[in-house]
């Protein structure tokens, strides 16, 4: 019996693509992560396999790429109201928006939209505070709306 079902493998593949931004790199990162996960799972008992391998995928991507050449989150944390992530983006195609995202932004979008996580759950998954997630979403929306309204040039 396999540790991950076909459905779970597809979910992990989608998560990997959300981080890597490309199907081929996403597959390579997933492949390496599963190999490492299987070795690790024989050494220690992994309580939450899904969460564990998601973290492995992210680490594997960071190790592979090391730094993201696109915009990074950087602003200091500010107090924010909980806002609706999708508000203002309804008229845009998902792929167009994702093409303008960096790795961290795509990851949050994936966890929010595909995994259906709340902001608190995303914060827990990414091991940051809920305030950091809200700041990231706020900054992301501010930037992406500016870029999309200008016609897609984020330079």
């Amino acid at each position: 019996m396999n540790i991950f079902s076909r459905g779970e493998l597809n979910d992990l593949y989608r998560y990997s693509i959300s981080i890597c931004g490309c199907e081929n790199i996403g597959y390579d990162v997933l492949h390496t992560s599963i190999e490492k996960f299987l070795v690790k799972s024989e050494q220690i008992e992994i309580q939450y396999p899904r969460r564990y391998i998601m973290r492995m995928i992210k680490n594997e991507y960071v190790n592979t790429i090391r730094s993201d050449s696109r915009l990074e989150f950087s602003d200091e944390e500010v107090e924010l109201e909980v806002e609706d992530f999708g508000q203002g983006l309804e008229k845009y195609d998902a792929k167009v928006v994702l093409d303008h995202c960096n790795s961290k932004e795509r990851e949050i979008l994936f966890l929010w939209a595909y995994e259906g996580m709340s902001y608190s759950e995303i914060a827990k998954q990414l091991e940051v505070s809920k305030g950091t997630i809200l700041t990231r979403i706020h900054n992301f929306k501010k930037r992406i709306l500016k870029v999309l309204n200008k016609g897609g040039n984020d330079e």
Binding site: N10, E42, E76, Y114
Partner: protein
Amino acid sequence: MNDFKSKVRDHYSSIELSNERLEKLQSLEGKTSRPLFSWNIFVTGFATLSILFAVVLVGFPQVTRSLEDNILHEVVKNHIKNMPSEIETSNLFAISSKLSRLDFAIINSTYTSDKSLVGARYCSIQGVTAAQLQYKDTVGTRYTVYQVPVPKEFESRKGLIKESDISGVHVQIYVEKGLLIGKAYSLK
């Protein structure tokens, strides 16, 4: 239902592994099964025991230092090294943008608000990637400030954790806005 949310979900749902790739991933499980005896494990175990023995024999006083003291000593060691800044600017935002590998936002600490920022570089504290900021005060004294995410051991702490004079350097560590900050300057 949030329309954009469903668009993103539909976008990802439309992506699927090909049968060939799926089978390849599923077949990994059989390939990575661990042999009963592995030379790697034996060699790693032996090396670990040897290092532990050497540490206990030679470096026991260092091992028994608290985490606070380890960090204080590491901050002092880094301060004395006086490595040149990779980015020379007084703009905190510019530094934050350049040090993009950091997984946290650099803050303007209240403990350094009366000093002028002159530059920054990457560094590490206890093996974690940190920001090393250089400050100067009005009389030209050089201050080295390290910012790093708060280790689990200090999560419940706030403000000054410990300060000390080590090897002619005054050093403080404190927690502020979710970061552990180390500040050091040479005593006259």
